[in-house]
Symmetry: C2
Subunit: 344 residues, 2 copies
């Protein structure tokens, strides 16, 4: 029917969104920040709300063979709250739409909702609306999260300055290894259903995949310390693609020190068993839901006292590009190899 047909895969996920939203006008005076960051910012009568929305599709974003429904409910909420945190805001409300095929029982949905409610309780967030519809195939989850932020204290991806310190919360790479482990066990199980999954001593990496947390605590800690990040986003894709977003939006380059990237001991151990470099897991894995942000150098002393935050590099002139300094002192150009949603 179409005279022209451009395959979606040719644009990539970000290219597609950019393309479709390039003619998006704003009309409301209250729209402070629209599409293009972790969340939008809306001014309502002088106060500011932050809003973000995500969709998760069975078979694309999760595999029910190894994802307990309760964990899925929890995670569906958390990944959206993480976007709110990435704006330096505090989540307050969510709406939840689900599409389900008749393969699911009421009991299965109850389990899913248990996870949703557990996340609401954990993060002091209210579920205030949503829709439950039939799907033709699989389970589809769409969550919108709303948060509040002190007026003009929201933090975007574009405010970093030259010399600012590049920081990340928690540790990285574990969720990717959790996924590799579960995929391996699934394969073994499909070949021989008598073999039960062997996940002993793997609770950390598997937990990071199945039950991530949103770093509300980091947002609170930064406020307590009176540290205002100059730019921020959450690490949902790999660290390298996220750093490149910050660089591009802030029109800067950066230096990332491999030896400063934080890992959990179990992450290192599992990576070595899989014969993967843990650094590759951090750079190109995903779903860590940690906060990546920049701060002014003068905040360094305040940051040092926190065990939750690692300084992993610093911002440079745009012309210097994004550089990775390896443990051996070699310089590499940082390239994005994060998960791609379209056209593998």
């Amino acid at each position: 029917m179409d005279a022209e047909r451009t395959e979606i895969g040719t644009l990539g996920e970000f290219g597609l969104i950019d393309h479709l939203t390039k003619n998006n006008d704003t009309r409301q005076a209250g729209t402070i920040l629209s599409i293009g960051d972790d969340a939008a910012v809306i001014d309502q009568f002088g106060k500011q709300s932050v809003i973000s929305s995500d969709m998760l599709v069975e078979g694309i974003h999760f595999d029910l063979m190894y994802t307990p429904l309760k964990h899925l409910g929890y995670k569906s909420v958390v990944v959206n709250l993480s976007d709110i945190c990435a704006m330096n805001a505090t989540p307050t409300h969510i709406t939840l739409n689900i599409g389900i095929s008749n393969r699911f029982s009421v009991e299965a949905l109850e389990e899913f909702y248990e996870g949703v409610y557990a996340a609401c309780e954990q993060y002091n967030v209210d579920l205030v609306g949503g829709d439950t519809v039939s799907s033709q195939k699989g389970f589809i989850i769409s969550v919108t999260a709303i948060g509040e932020v002190t007026p003009n204290k929201f933090v975007t991806r574009k405010g970093a300055g030259k010399g600012d310190l590049l920081c990340v919360s928690g540790d990285l790479g574990a969720a990717y290894l959790g996924l590799q482990l579960l995929e391996r066990e699934k394969k073994i199980f499909l070949e021989n259903s008598g073999i039960q999954p062997d996940l002993d001593n793997r609770a950390y990496v598997v937990g990071r995949l199945l039950k991530p947390e949103a770093r509300v605590d980091i947002v609170e800690w930064l406020a307590e310390q009176d540290i205002m990040p100059t730019s921020m986003m959450d690490v949902s894709d790999g660290l390298s693609s996220e750093i490149l977003h910050l660089c591009k939006q802030s029109k800067l380059g950066c230096v990332l020190h491999e030896d400063k990237i934080p890992f959990h001991d179990e992450t290192r151990e599992v990576a070595y068993k899989f014969d993967i470099d843990p650094t590759a897991c951090a750079l190109s894995g995903g779903e860590d839901y940690e906060l990546l942000f920049t701060v002014k150098q003068e905040d360094y002393d305040k940051l040092r006292i926190s065990e939750k935050i690692s300084v992993i590099g610093y911002m440079t002139e745009e012309s210097e590009g994004a550089q990775l300094i390896t443990r051996n002192g070699n310089k590499h150009k940082l390239i994005a190899q994060g998960w791609t949603a379209f056209g593998q």
Copy 2:
């Protein structure tokens, strides 16, 4: 796997949502109204926002054989804005998540977004965020709409009083007939693809299905006339099921006069051709997206001057139940036969 398995169809759509949300606590002091109405109301620093979310699934809610993508984009926005209007609020922002299979081209998505932007322009609403993901099958659309309302001027389903007048905007039943027409033409086309659809002089009923409008104008008109509805909702399912919601939530009965139900001439004409009673289309059809509301009797003189609003009945004691008075003067009990989302 489950010891127990309750089929979703046994609960029905509303039963399922009620069941899943019965343990939903609110924690935020700002949550004024949660699940159970057309939209939620959130108090933000003394000002009030209204939020609503809907999901549309290909093959369940729309058929791309006869739904132009541009119309679909427009309608996806409008059905959510209608929920905001149903709270006596004005829509301001939306987020849009879509799931698409690789069957769709970039050009097809551009068409869909054209419709989304047309609706945003028409209703002075900003698209501020969203997600674009792969789906395993079909097209999935999830929209969240946000609006603003003068503090405590939002209108729920539960405020009607005995003797209040039952009113509806515009006319009813057309969208249902538009659907019957398009389904008939699809069947003919599938049997013989040489026959082109015959939709001459059917622009109104087809347009009501494919390109509904949200009655922002009614909300504005009511405010101008200083009429505060005592209860309100939008007519997305059939009129009878919506009236029963108002009765149940307001703990009242009602009398509905068949001869007062407003119809467009084309609706009557098409109904007769299909040998369906137009009243049945209004009562049990759906997707009219008109506003159903109650007002105090003293507002009758103000209402009379509007051609956009019909007074179709009045509220009675709960014990009297919901009654339909037919053109012949017979009394019938009003029963819900609206579209059901699950287990036909």
